[in-house]
């Protein structure tokens, strides 16, 4: 029961994050939503780690955190550069790929 609840919380957190990525235009918020999705995935890892008695899940979470930190550095750098160029952080300002 507890297990199911935690799984559900993880899944729903992930999905809310995904929803945020889909509907927000602000690049920083999109980035935050991605962090939210990672957090959701982390919860699932932790839950499985607990219920299966595997420490590996926690190792994976640590790696995800490290990668997320790296991603934050790069992501923020990109957003800063983008802001400087386009005068805003709305992703609809990036339209070079538009057909």
């Amino acid at each position: 029961m507890v297990m199911g609840l935690i799984f559900a919380i993880g899944v729903i957190t992930f999905c809310i994050g995904a929803l945020g990525v889909l509907i927000r235009k602000n690049a920083v918020v999109m980035f935050l939503c991605i962090e939210l999705m990672l957090n959701g995935a982390n919860m699932l890892f932790m839950a499985v780690s607990k219920f299966k008695g595997l420490i590996e899940g926690q190792v994976a979470v640590l790696f995800i955190m490290a990668v997320a930190a790296a991603e934050a550095a790069i992501g923020m750098a990109i957003i800063t550069a983008f802001y400087r160029r386009r005068g805003g952080i709305e992703v609809d300002k990036a339209e070079l790929l538009k057909w």
Binding site: A18, V21, L22, A94, L96, K98, W99
Partner: protein, 628 residues
């Protein structure tokens, strides 16, 4: 031994590869690679000749080239009396012609120069593959390879439309013959289950006579294409568009004789098919006469020699056609010397006169070009059959065999043709080297060529003068040597007949005919009585027929080429290609562009949309995974 044989065949290929790949590096120095790449095999092949004379034979598989089920074809080489003779001829003549080319191709641009030697080396490689192959398919590889090189070299000056067309003509005409050749190979494989000479000949007696006739006729079709016999001879006169050393090497001395070699190699099959033999002999002699008649009035130095080549090849086919394979090969051997020589001399004249080929503009050149003139005369005497020059021995041997075998008609036409040969070749000599110069300006500029060109001519002239004496060598002479592997049944009968008295009379007749031919040429072109111009007027219809080469080219154009081109242009091109094939191709492209025009709307450039597609994709994949 095996290594030596490999070296002989593959050194020219290595030479070709070096010059071909590094032509931008070798440039002017290409001949430093090309000449040794032929000279070394030439030396080795002389050694091999000695070995074979001592009784050494080689027939081995190097590796299995194709092995599909029962169909097995090796890369394998065969060295026996027949192939070693060809080997020596090809490498020896090639070496000298390579050296000659250094001088002749002097004016070529750097890269072209390397290209020329690449082709020439490649040609020798394929020719050696053809000659040394121990099975029909590998022989066919060489056969096609020399055809390719011939095409490349005829079209060597490809900027010239006529040269490019001549190359195509040679290639396409050869295709017709190759069609027959390949079908013959299929039949051989189907009925004898192998393409290796050894197996084919061992089991040849299993073939029924009609089947053997069919196979040999088809093989002969291939030979008519490659060796320029009626009806496929038309490409050879046009092949003179290539550089003259090429005409000399490929279109006189070596490649065109491949058909004769192939028939001699397949003598076991031909012996089973008397009808084919008859056909070969008759086609040969008619070609000989036909080509000689066209040479009588032609004014183009090289074309006269080309017709002469066709004519001499006709003699070779007479030789193999009457069962005197060794005599045919012997004529091939001597012909390689004197015809190679005459082409080199013609090239020398051309080189001195800046490409002029019209004999009517020459005259009196002997004073300016002593070496060229004298060597040319030696070649002319050889081809005319004046003893003791080379042509006498081999041509006489062929005619003798024809007579003894009972082909009286063939003998008669062959003898008449011999007279015509003597006439036209001395017409050429007299017009070119004797009399008054008819074009002063050309004459003034004429000069003898450097030693790099004259020495090969001298060497070949010595060969033309004395190669015939091999007929007198111990052990049956040249023919006896080749006959060691020709287990022809009736060959013994021929030898028996040899001893009979008639031989002396025949020799006298053919020598007399040759001298008469030379005499008429002397009267007409030196004494001018009867005057050739007047003769041409009096016999105008005949003259025109001969001068226009019987309109055979026009006939072929009307019956084969124009309909083909017409169908190609109006049906295949305008309807099939443009309408159907291009329609399909363009239709597909248009469809793609339509789909693209629609689908590209998906590329909104708005990042969340891409995320949406990713999510949709994941949903679909997970849905499938969950459901199934």
């Amino acid at each position: 031994m095996r290594d030596l044989i490999l070296a002989v065949v593959f050194i020219p290929l290595i030479g070709a590869a070096i010059n071909g790949i590094f032509c931008w590096k070798t440039r002017r120095k290409a001949h430093y690679i090309a000449v040794p790449a032929i000279a070394i095999p030439a030396v080795i092949s002389l050694y091999l000749l000695v070995k074979v004379a001592q009784g050494y034979h080689f027939d081995d598989v190097l590796y299995w080239w194709i092995a599909i089920g029962d169909f097995r074809v090796p890369i394998g080489f065969l060295l026996d009396e027949l192939s070693v003779v060809m080997l020596v001829t090809v490498t020896f003549i090639s070496t000298w012609i390579h050296i000659y080319s250094i001088g002749y191709m002097d004016h070529e641009p750097d890269i072209s120069y390397a290209r020329y030697f690449t082709y020439l080396n490649l040609f020798v490689f394929f020719m050696l593959v053809l000659v040394m192959a121990n099975n029909y398919l590998l022989m066919f590889v060489g056969w096609e390879g020399v055809g390719l090189c011939s095409y490349l070299l005829i079209g060597y000056w490809y900027e010239k439309m006529s040269a490019a067309n001549a190359g195509m003509k040679a290639f396409i005409t050869n295709r017709v013959g190759d069609f027959g050749f390949t079908i013959a190979l299929f039949l051989i494989y189907k009925h004898l289950g192998s393409l290796i000479f050894h197996d084919v000949f061992a089991r040849a007696h299993e073939l029924s006579v009609p089947l053997a006739t069919l196979i040999t006729l088809l093989l002969f079709t291939g030979a008519t294409g490659k060796s320029a016999q009626i009806p496929l001879y038309v490409w050879l006169p046009d092949a003179m568009e290539g550089p003259t050393p090429v005409s000399s090497l490929i279109h006189a001395a070596t490649m065109v004789t491949a058909g004769v070699y192939m028939i001699a190699r397949s003598h076991v099959l031909y012996n089973l098919a008397p009808f084919t033999m008859e056909v070969v002999a008759v086609v040969g002699v008619i070609t000989a006469w036909f080509a000689a008649s066209m040479a009588l009035v032609n004014n183009d130095l090289k074309r006269v020699l080309a017709f002469s080549t066709i004519s001499q090849l006709g003699y070779m086919f007479v030789g193999v056609g009457v069962g005197a394979y060794a005599a045919g090969i012997f004529h091939l051997f001597t012909h390689a010397f004197f015809k190679g020589l005459m082409f080199l001399c013609a090239g020398s004249v051309m080189h001195a006169l800046h490409g002029e080929l019209n004999m009517q503009k020459m005259g009196g050149l002997l004073k300016k070009m002593k070496i060229t003139g004298i060597t040319f005369i030696v070649g002319a005497l050889a081809i005319s059959g004046v003893p003791p020059f080379a042509g006498f021995w081999s041509k006489d041997s062929i005619l003798h065999h024809a007579f003894v075998e009972g082909h009286k008609f063939v003998w008669l036409v062959g003898t008449i043709t011999a007279g015509m040969t003597a006439f036209y070749i001395f017409r050429l000599i007299f017009l070119t080297f004797f009399g008054e110069p008819r074009d002063k300006e050309l004459y003034e500029h004429a000069h003898e060529n450097p030693p790099v060109m004259t020495i090969p001519m001298i060497v070949l002239a010595i060969g033309s003068a004395f190669a015939g004496l091999f007929a007198l060598a111990p052990g049956g002479g040249f023919e006896g040597f080749v006959n060691r592997i020709m287990h022809a049944g009736h060959e013994a009968a021929v030898h028996a007949a040899h001893g009979e008295g008639g031989a002396g009379g025949l020799i006298v007749i053919s020598v007399a005919v040759a001298l008469i031919g030379i005499g008429i040429a002397y009267l007409m072109y030196i004494k001018r009585t009867p005057d050739p111009v007047e003769m041409a007027q009096r016999f105008r219809p005949i003259y025109l027929v001969l001068y226009n080469r019987y309109w055979v080219d026009e006939l072929y154009f009307a019956f084969f080429i124009n309909p083909t081109v017409g169908i190609s242009r109006h049906v295949l091109w305008k309807i099939v290609d443009v309408g159907i094939i291009d329609g399909i191709v363009n239709g597909v492209a248009r469809l793609c562009s339509l789909i693209g025009a629609g689908v590209r709307k998906l590329q909104t450039g708005f990042i969340p949309d891409y995320a949406w597609f990713i999510l949709a994709g994941i949903i679909v994949v997970c849905g499938i995974k969950i459901l199934f």
